[in-house]
Symmetry: C2
Subunit: 400 residues, 2 copies
C-alpha cells in the first residue's frame, strides 16, 4: 500500500470518527456509537470507501490495547479485589448461560448440527470489554462499584472466551479437544494475571530511574508503549487475550497500585501523573481507530433483510444473548439499579463475537445465512446497550 | 501479519532505538546515530531480526511527517523568509554541483552509460532533512541562523529532488522527459508552499473553536494528526514530497506564524501551547520508528568490502558528494563557522538518497556493484555528519 493512500484512509477514519462522535453527543447518544457508526458508514455496509487493510487493523489493535492500558491506569486494585467474587459470578453466569442457550436453540429449535450449534453458543458468550468500558467512562461511572464489577467480569469473560475459541478451533480442524491443553492455558493465564502487574511495576521503576537522568526527550512515550506492547505480546504467548497485557501494564502504573506482599513498591504520585499526561494523547489518537474498525468489520449488507428465517433466527438468539447476560447480574447481592446497569453493560458482543463468527464462516461451519444472522445478533447487542445504559443512568442514576 | 508478531517488531524497534540512543549520548554521539545504528543492527546488515514490513514502513512515514510538523511548529516564519535567499543559494548549489559532478565522474571517469551516470548524479543531490533536523534539534541549534538556513535549503532540496526523481523516472521507463510536466509540478508545489500554511491556519481556527466546546476528550490529538495527514496527502497529490505537508501544517500552528497579508489570523499562545503539549508524546513515539527504519533499509552486506572498484568508486563519489554540498555554503555571506555548520548539515543523503538508489536498482539501471557503491556513499554521508557537526559545535560553537 502506498503511504499517501494509507494517510488518506487514516485521516478519513480519524475525521469521520470525530464528526460522528460529536454528532452522537449532540443527539444525547454515547460517543462510541458515533465511532462505530462511522465505521459502518465508511465500510462495506454503506459507502465501501475504506478497506480494513492490515496497517489499519494493526493500529486498531494497538488502540484497544492502549484503551485497556488506560482502564488499568484508572483502576483501583483494592476495589477490584473487593468486587472480585461478584465479578466472578457475573462472568461465569454470563458465559455458561449464553453458551448453553445458544447451543440448545441451534440444536433443538433450528435443527442445526452439534458443531454449528456449539459455535453459535460460543459466539454468544463473548463480552466486548472495549465498548462496555468506553460507555462507562463516557458516563464517568468507571470507578463506581458497578463499573468495577463489570470490568472484572468482562476481563474474566475475555479469558473464558479465548479459551473456548481455542477449544472450538481445535475441534473444528478435527484435532479433538484436549482438556489438558485447556487447563494448561488456564494456569498460565492465571499466573500471568497475578504476576504481570508485579513484573510491570518492577520495569516501571527502571523506567522511572531513567526518566530522571535521560538527556534525550521522549523517554516516557516510547518506553511505556514498549512496556504495554511487551505485556500484550506476553499475554498472547501464554494463551491469554492480548488486551489483558495492556490492562496488566496499566494496573501496574496506576496511582492506586497496591500489593498485598510488597509495600516497598509504592507508587509515586508525580511519576504516575506524568505517565498519564503523556500517554493520554497517544491513547486518544489510537482508540477511535479501533471502534471505527469494529464498524468496518460489520457488513450489514450480508444480511438478507427479507428472509423470515434470518429474522426468526436472529431475534430468538438475540433474546437468548440478552437473557443469558441478565441472569448473572441478578445472582449477586446489589441494589436492583446496580444489577440493571451490570446486566446492560455485559450485553455488547462487539469485536469478540465477530471473531467467533468469522472463524465459523472461514472454516465453513456457518453457512452464509447463519453467519448473517449471527452478524445481526452481534450488531444489535453491540449497538443497543450504549443507548440503553445512557437512558438507564438518566432515569435511575440517582438510585445508584 | 499477526498482531502479536507486529507488536513484537514494534516493541523491539522502540526499545532498541531508545537503548542505542541513550548509549550514543553517553558516548558523546548524537542520539539519532543511536537510532540509525539500532536499525542497522536489527536489519539485514547484522542480525536480520526485523523485516521492514509494510505496517512498520507506514508508521515510519507518519514519524518523519510528524517530525517535520514539529519542526514547522518551532519555526519562526519571519526568520525563515529572511533567510530565504541564502537557503535558496545553498539549495541550488547543493543540488546542481553534486548532480553535475556525479554525472561527470560516472560518465568520464568510470565510463558508465549516460543514464547510469544521471542516476548517480541524482542520488547525490538529495539532502536528508530528517537527519539534519534531528541533529540540529539535539544540539538545540534549530532556531539559530544556520539552523534556519539549513532548514530552508533542505526543504528546497527535497522539492528539487522529487522533481528530478519524477523526471528520471519518466526517462527510465522510456517515456521521454516532459519539461511541461516538470514546470507544472514546480508551479503546484510553489502554490502549495505559499497557500498550505494559510489553509492549515484557517482549519486550525475551526479546530480551536471545537476544542472550546467539545465534551468528548481527545479532540486535539485526533484533529491535529488528521490535519497533518491531510496536508501530507495533499502535498503528494500536487507532486510535492509528503513531509512538506507536515511542515506546512506545523508552520500554520506555530506560535510564531505570521502572514504578510492577514493580520487577523494571529496566533493564540495558549492554544499553540496546548497543541505542542499534546502532540509532543505522539511525535516522540513515531519519530524513532522512522530513523530505525532508515537503518533497516541500509543493507551493508550488499557491499563487497574486498572489491577495489567499489572502494575507488564510492570514495571518489563520496568526495564529490561532500564537496558539492560544501560549495553552496561558502557562496553565502556568513561567518566561516556558520558556513562550516551549514556545509556539514547539508551532507546527509539518508532516506532520500536510498529512494533514488532503490529506483535505480529495481529499474535495472544500477548493477549490483554500482548499487552497493551508492549504498556505501549514502551510508557514509548519513552516518558521518552527525558526529562531525557535534564535534564542530564543540570546538567552534563559541564563534557562532
Amino acid at each position: 500500500m502506498e503511504s499517501h493512500d494509507f494517510f488518506l484512509y487514516l485521516l478519513i477514519i480519524l475525521l469521520t470518527a470525530r464528526v460522528f462522535a460529536e454528532l452522537a453527543t449532540r443527539l444525547q447518544a454515547p460517543s462510541v456509537i458515533g465511532e462505530l457508526f462511522a465505521g459502518v458508514v465508511l465500510g462495506p455496509s454503506l459507502l465501501d470507501w475504506i478497506e480494513p487493510v492490515e496497517a489499519i487493523k494493526l493500529m486498531a489493535e494497538i488502540g484497544i490495547i492502549l484503551l485497556l492500558f488506560e482502564v488499568g491506569l484508572e483502576t483501583d486494585v483494592k476495589r477490584l479485589v473487593r468486587t472480585g467474587l461478584k465479578s466472578f459470578v457475573v462472568a461465569i453466569a454470563g458465559f455458561i448461560l449464553p453458551l448453553v442457550s445458544g447451543f440448545s436453540l441451534g440444536y433443538w429449535v433450528f435443527n442445526l448440527s452439534p458443531l454449528v450449534s456449539l459455535f453459535i453458543g460460543g459466539t454468544l458468550t463473548a463480552t466486548s470489554i472495549g465498548i462496555t468500558v468506553r460507555v462507562l467512562s463516557d458516563l464517568k461511572r468507571q470507578q463506581a462499584p458497578e463499573g468495577q464489577i463489570v470490568l472484572g467480569a468482562a476481563v474474566l469473560d475475555d479469558i473464558l472466551g479465548v479459551m473456548l475459541l481455542a477449544l472450538l478451533y481445535e475441534f473444528s480442524i478435527g484435532g479433538g479437544v484436549s482438556l489438558l491443553n485447556a487447563s494448561k492455558v488456564l494456569v498460565f493465564v492465571g499466573a500471568f494475571f497475578v504476576l504481570a502487574p508485579v513484573a510491570a511495576k518492577l520495569i516501571s521503576l527502571i523506567i522511572k530511574r531513567f526518566d530522571a537522568v535521560s538527556e534525550i526527550p521522549g523517554l516516557l512515550p516510547t518506553t511505556i508503549v514498549t512496556l504495554v506492547l511487551f505485556f500484550a505480546w506476553l499475554a498472547h504467548a501464554l494463551g491469554a487475550p492480548e488486551l489483558l497485557g495492556g490492562f496488566a501494564a496499566g494496573l501496574a502504573l496506576s496511582r492506586r497500585f497496591f500489593l498485598p506482599l510488597g509495600i516497598a513498591l509504592h507508587s509515586d504520585e508525580c511519576f504516575a501523573h506524568r505517565v498519564e499526561d503523556q500517554m493520554k494523547p497517544i491513547v486518544q489518537l489510537f482508540t477511535p481507530i479501533f471502534f471505527v474498525f469494529v464498524g468496518l468489520s460489520l457488513n450489514l449488507r450480508q444480511i438478507n433483510w427479507d428472509s423470515t428465517f434470518i429474522w426468526g433466527f436472529s431475534l430468538t438468539l438475540l433474546a437468548a444473548a440478552i437473557a443469558g447476560k441478565l441472569v448473572g447480574a441478578f445472582l449477586i447481592k446489589e441494589p436492583w439499579a446496580v444489577r440493571g446497569v451490570i446486566a446492560l453493560a455485559m450485553i455488547p458482543r462487539g469485536e469478540v463475537g465477530l471473531i467467533f463468527a468469522e472463524l465459523g464462516r472461514v472454516s465453513k461451519i456457518f453457512s452464509n445465512e447463519i453467519y448473517a444472522g449471527m452478524v445481526m445478533v452481534i450488531a444489535l447487542t453491540t449497538l443497543l446497550p450504549p443507548f440503553l445504559m445512557k437512558w438507564f443512568y438518566g432515569r435511575y442514576g440517582d438510585r445508584l
